[in-house]
Amino acid sequence: MIAIDLKRKVLNENDRVASELRTGFRDTGTLTLNFIGSPGAGKTAFLERTLQMLPEGVRAAVLTGDIQTDNDAIRLARYGFPVRQIATAGACHLDARMVQKHLRKWNIGEIDLLFIENVGNLVCPTSYDLGEDAKVVVLSVAEGEDKPLKYPAIFRKAELMILNKTDLLPYVPFRPELARECARRIRPGIEIVETSSLTGCGFERWLIWLDARIHMKRAAPGRRAAGVRSAAC
């Protein structure tokens, strides 16, 4: 009998590709955010509103993942930014190799901000590093406040929680303070922004967060800070 202690990451091949992606994003100063949320949490609508409101001059691009169809890519492409659909044909998550493959046709050096919209799923995408700077979890008020407790892995890894669809609050028995408390029980330092993609409420705060992260990432001498447009609430 031969026994060997390995201590090797199961997803080490994914992690290797993710590391290559991260190095590329670092070299080009591309801020990359990986959006994870349940189906119907409003990830695509959130990104649509974000693209609409991005400050002039921000060179954004979107990779959007779904099991089937290019419906989301068609929606997102209406705002004039490069968009590619990743159809996983059954896989419940994006992995680093899929991202790498779909980025090949773009010059990453011309992208300041890359949004990756993961497949709608709060569990599986959490395990796969895509080389991103941060994971962003999207939770809608049409879900349960205790989602962070039920699906702790993603709330533990996400730097930012978008509490979305706040325009529905008058019609649903959702307590935002309880959702915030549950999220902070899992990750005390998680930042939380409440938004409505329908009305644009909360997007000003989200765009300030985004603007700060873009500038942190690029930190290019002499680069002019882009302003943030206001949303009327």
Partner: protein
């Protein structure tokens, strides 16, 4: 159901090591799954058994140890010598 992909990755890691030990066959692979790894141990076992069934890896046993963080590691692999008559058969 990403456990299927994870089961395949575990098997690939094991097979790479096995190639370095001619004359030995698969015995056991031990994995550590953290509480926040986003992987269900029973689903993983189901997928793993489905993958190895009927293959040369059928004798491979999957051992699962639970961790507290987001670990998802292959921790230990075990091979056993192939009996001479099996080699000659």
């Amino acid at each position: 159901m990403h456990e299927m992909g994870i089961a395949s990755s575990i098997l690939e890691a094991f097979q790479k090591e096995l190639l370095l030990y001619p004359g030995y066959r698969a015995a056991k692979v031990g994995v550590l799954i953290g509480e926040f790894a986003g992987v269900d141990g029973e689903s993983l076992r189901f997928c793993f058994e489905a993958i190895v069934m009927g293959s040369s890896m059928e004798s491979l046993d999957l051992g699962i140890e639970n961790g507290n963080g987001d670990e998802l590691d292959v921790r230990r692999i075990e091979f056993e010598p192939v009996e001479r008559e099996e080699v000659c058969a």
